[in-house]
Symmetry: D2
Amino acid sequence: MESLKRKLRDFAKARDWEKFHSPKNLVMAMSVEAAELMEHFQWRTQEESRNLDRETREKVKQEIGDVLVYLVRLADQVGVDPVQAAEEKISLNETRYPEDKVKGSAKKYNEYE
Amino acid sequence: MESLKRKLRDFAKARDWEKFHSPKNLVMAMSVEAAELMEHFQWRTQEESRNLDRETREKVKQEIGDVLVYLVRLADQVGVDPVQAAEEKISLNETRYPEDKVKGSAKKYNEYE
Amino acid sequence: MESLKRKLRDFAKARDWEKFHSPKNLVMAMSVEAAELMEHFQWRTQEESRNLDRETREKVKQEIGDVLVYLVRLADQVGVDPVQAAEEKISLNETRYPEDKVKGSAKKYNEYE
Amino acid sequence: MESLKRKLRDFAKARDWEKFHSPKNLVMAMSVEAAELMEHFQWRTQEESRNLDRETREKVKQEIGDVLVYLVRLADQVGVDPVQAAEEKISLNETRYPEDKVKGSAKKYNEYE
């Protein structure tokens, strides 16, 4: 992830694209990529989404790459370590959703964010 | 990231939430989190987005964590390594957008996806 | 819809909020509202999404209102009639997806955009 | 809008596509279209977003049509009148954000949802 961050910095700098990379623009780009990723699943059933054909899986992989690219670039621009942020969120969720209280419950799950 | 993936597997398993974690559901959740992250930027100017106050930055950090959590979990469920996917995308973009052709150009930039 | 457009113009003007209502900002706000609407469906099955309880349906209604508010406001700011735009798109789709060619087909449907 | 709703019903029925039109699927499709609309604005400044060239404006128009198509179809499937929902939301917002309290204020605006 650290290496990814540096590559993206170099990529933008070499192309003089830093001026386009405000957090406002980057978050839009990331959200657009998230939707392009979602597009592959919109007409599929949940079951079908668990069994992608090879061609779709390859496209999905590329879109996952796009989302991560913009997420890492955005995090860099606002000075946040994304992996640390995710780990802190998981710790928080472990407290919020104790195993014995929420186990298998859809109701509790709907409150989960 | 590898450790993140394993924590998220354990988290879902311990709560019997794997049944909710179809790729279709996970991509929706990731897209919703991406929008929650975007919400912090919607009325800010690009300049303001480059200078977040401490409180907003903390909230942004948490939302970045949420997006990464669902992205890693989704990638795991479809059998994709997200960091590798991002690196492959960067390599592809280096070929697509040669420095000397696109330098500082907004026009070229608009074709960039 | 015409009346909605006028109400939204008056609303923004009376609050001196027109300066915030650039198309760039409005499209972000609309996309965030779309995600808030989607959030109500992310952990539900397709079957459950067809049978919402009264409380959820009320929340869904409010979010549908929010999306439409920003869509109408955005369309006004870029000088587009949204209903006309939708009707033109339907006409186009009638040509693109002839009944006898696509009937009930998931394959054709996946190509549909 | 009433006519739009009926056309969309007929369109889906004639193609036997009703089975794909669960609210869960439709909200995903609407959210994807919202992002495609947003894509046209992601690298533009706010000023540029207020002055679209003719070609971009035409594409924006088509995407606005797409978002409205899915919003109307979704609203129909959950039994909501979207225009009424929007009008109720405007009334609510008039109470929440009294003109004299929020006039021109970015701070108040950031609390606005």
